[in-house]
């Protein structure tokens, strides 16, 4: 069956797979959101340890999902990989830097003789949580607002945005209110899901104050995220988008993304369901005594993330538009791997449900008992 899929279907299928991986990553950055809460909700060393131990059991999943996201983009859309990574150099380098310092922080923070001191590793976690998430948000924003590159006939990229004599290499994405709003929404939503996850995984019988602060944090961060979400949503509905015709010519089209939403009603339904689930998760956590809010706002985040990644790519839309030369813009048709490679990888992708199944199984197994103070004192912890 897979062997009979045509090239266009494969290209769309692979963008959808990448959007799913990206959406799961957006959910999993609850780890980063949780890291940014450390200094605000933990009042004692034990509370800190509870939070870091809880997040520390999940950080690798987030990290691995990011690696898979990069690897899948490289494999399925190598022109995007080459253009964006080689062009928006500083954005990706700073994202990487923030993830490198995260990787060691959990393991080293509480170890004796750790050279830099626990506070430094906690600072690393904060930097990863804030800088990493903001930059990823701004990078995704450029799918809608465009970037400053051109491609030659051999697809070699030239990036051109100079400020005070410096080529900013992607950092100029921060000058767009839309990109900035998307980045800030991502950050505050990660703080909402981070706090919700912690409420679900820690036993608060010895630390009721921490539970109260986490519930308060869910409400506060949701309220802060709301104006950014609304600005992003209204902008998407009203802004011009980058359409591509049958000959592959890219042009600016009014209300392109609004049109995409109505052309793909399943995305509209997912977007609305996602927003409702996020709000429901926050309501259950902030106004009720539920510990299960993470599953609602987590699933909602996956839905919204999926829509945000699909909207600028499907329905004949250029997903990585060039502001300098519209015809250099990348579409899923001109940026993809060959049909042979996409077909081969589709066979490989049959394994994805199996991978997801064992991740869910192990997650349930490990989280069936909540993390207690006794566990921190007597067993392996971060």
């Amino acid at each position: 069956m897979i062997g009979n899929l045509d090239y266009t279907t494969l290209q769309q299928l692979w963008w959808i797979i990448i959007a799913i991986v990206g959406a799961l990553f957006v959910f999993l950055i609850f780890v980063q959101g949780g890291q940014t809460l450390l200094g605000q909700v933990a009042e004692t060393e034990m509370e800190k340890s509870l939070i870091i131990t809880s997040l520390g059991r999940k950080w690798e999943l987030t990290f691995t999902t990011l690696v898979l996201f990069g690897g899948a983009l490289f494999a399925a859309f190598p022109k995007f990989y080459a253009t964006s990574f080689g062009g928006a150099y500083w954005v990706w380098m700073l994202i990487l830097f923030s993830f490198i310092i995260q990787a060691v922080s959990y393991e080293y923070r509480s170890k004796e003789n750790n050279f830099l001191g626990s506070e430094t590793y906690e600072l690393f976690l904060l930097i990863n949580g804030v800088v990493g998430v903001l930059l990823i948000g701004a990078a995704v924003g450029t799918f809608y607002t465009g970037s400053n590159f051109t491609l030659d006939m051999y697809n070699r990229v030239t990036w051109d945005y100079v400020l005070f004599g410096l080529n900013l290499r992607g950092l100029e994405a921060a000058f767009s209110l839309f990109n900035l709003s998307l980045a800030l929404f991502l950050l505050f939503n990660a703080r909402v899901t981070g706090a919700s996850y912690l409420l679900n995984s820690i036993d608060f019988s010895s630390n009721p104050g921490l539970e109260t602060r986490l519930r308060e944090s869910v409400k506060k961060n949701f309220l802060i995220s709301l104006p950014f979400l609304l600005y992003v949503l209204f902008s998407i509905l009203l802004m011009k988008g980058f359409g591509v015709d049958k000959a592959g010519v890219v042009s600016l089209v009014s209300f392109k993304y609004l049109f995409n939403l109505f052309s793909m009603p399943s995305l509209l339904v997912l977007l609305l369901a996602g927003i409702v689930l996020v709000v429901l998760g926050v309501f259950l956590t902030s106004f009720k005594t539920s510990y299960k809010g993470i599953w609602f706002n987590g699933l909602g985040t996956v839905f919204v993330g999926f829509v945000v990644l699909c909207l600028p790519a499907l329905n004949n839309t250029a997903f990585y538009p060039s502001k300098l030369d519209l015809q250099s813009s990348l579409t899923i048709f001109n940026a993809s791997s060959s049909m042979f490679t996409l077909t081969t990888m589709t066979y490989v992708a049959i394994g994805i449900p199996f991978v997801l199944a064992y991740i869910v199984y192990v997650w349930k197994l490990m989280d069936s008992k909540k993390i207690t103070v006794e566990e921190i004192e007597n067993e392996e912890s971060y």
Partner: protein
Amino acid sequence: MTHIDLSVVNWARAQFALTAMYHWIFVPLTLGLSFLCAFFESIYVRTGKKEWLSITKFWMTLFGINFAIGVATGIILEFEFGTNWSNYSWMVGDIFGAPLAIEGLFAFFLEATFFAVMFFGWNRVSKKFHLFSTWMVAVGSNLSAVWILVANGWMQNPVGMVFNPETARFEMNSFFKLVFNPAAVSKFIHTSSSGFLFASLFVLTISSWYLIRGRHIEMAKKSIVVAAVFGLLASSYVAMTGDTSAYEVARKQPMKLAAIEGLYKGQTKAPIVALGILNTDKKPGDNQKSFVAKIEIPYLLSFLANHSFTAFVPGIDDLVYGNKTYGIEGAASKMVKGRKAIKDLELFKIARKNKNTAKAAAALKDFKINQAYLGYGYLDKPEEAVPPVAAPYYAFHIMVGLGTLFPLLFAAFLFFSLKNTLVEKRWLLPFGFISVFLGLIAQEAGWVVAEVGRQPWAISGLLPVKMSSSNLDPQNIQITFFMFFGLFTLLLVAEIKIMLKQISIGFEEGGDLK
């Protein structure tokens, strides 16, 4: 031809070398120590003896410390292909990306998911499920090595692909040829078994230190027995696959073989240099001697390269200038064809842009005649096809020399352990203590042989490194080079200090390790 900023290429190359060499400090240990932890835990589950639990937890703690920094230094490598080598990413993404994506999906998730159980699941899952998780981490770690070495093997010996002039890139046409590429298969076995060997040396070093200091004697002896058996087995695989690799390199990368042997003039019944000092003034095509001094083993290079004691092994001069007697086409001749291919490709692209079908078809026909030499067209002179000779030559000889010592060391430790006289052999223990440092030198030397020996190519014979880089100002890479150098050095110091502290704490005698 496109203007190439060599300072960008060189800085990008330096940065990749820096990150790869740092990463390569930690990866072999992860590959091997993950299996050793699985062995120790298997013995614990089978015997139920607490001392094996302590042994497992001790080595697992060291594994975890090393694993974290291995992950940290690894992520940058994947993304550096895009940031520093964007032209390469586009040219080979259709082939190279798939193994990387499969690595992420099947190997990294296995590691990441079961890593949490391995470290925090002792009281959350059953004993058997915990053991299963430890094995899964070991399998996952080694599975990731499979896929990255499939990608690397393809760079050494590109198979299962065609060049598509429409897209101006290489495209996969056989996944199985890519996966079962002989270069990839021998590379995987050689690299993973050298990782097992290195981890066994790591256990030997720390255990020897305990025996010298008279601490944790029983735990150290038990650890040594397992590590020595594992190391001895791994050594034999390293030796066998080293031989296979040499044979493969002789077929597919004869220039690399000539460089690692310092062989300028090809010869039949070629000897191998056992020990030698290179003449650093020697250049391709001149009449100077290649060596200041050397000790040779007759016939052995011919045998290793061709499995025949009398076969001809081409030297650097033959490969640069050609050798009609043996039908070897030199780089000089290939460059002429390569430049013609580049010109025809350009004509084809222009004709396609102008929608001139007849001109495009003619240009394409001409291009196909010389397309196999495309990469050579980007070289400025034939001598550019020669890699730096000294680095791979010395690295290869250091690697082989040390690789010969290790099985003897494992055999001695195993022999005296089985006779239960190891503690009395005070002369042997210092060798065990220093062994991991020698192993590290051998590991890094192996990396230099493989990757410096591949120069000037990113993809052997097809794409030179200088055509692979991103279009960046060198200052960008200089800044990130020093950022990563500083950060990795800080993290390395932190890792060593934490590890030394854990080693000084040692095993928990008769109970759990805190």
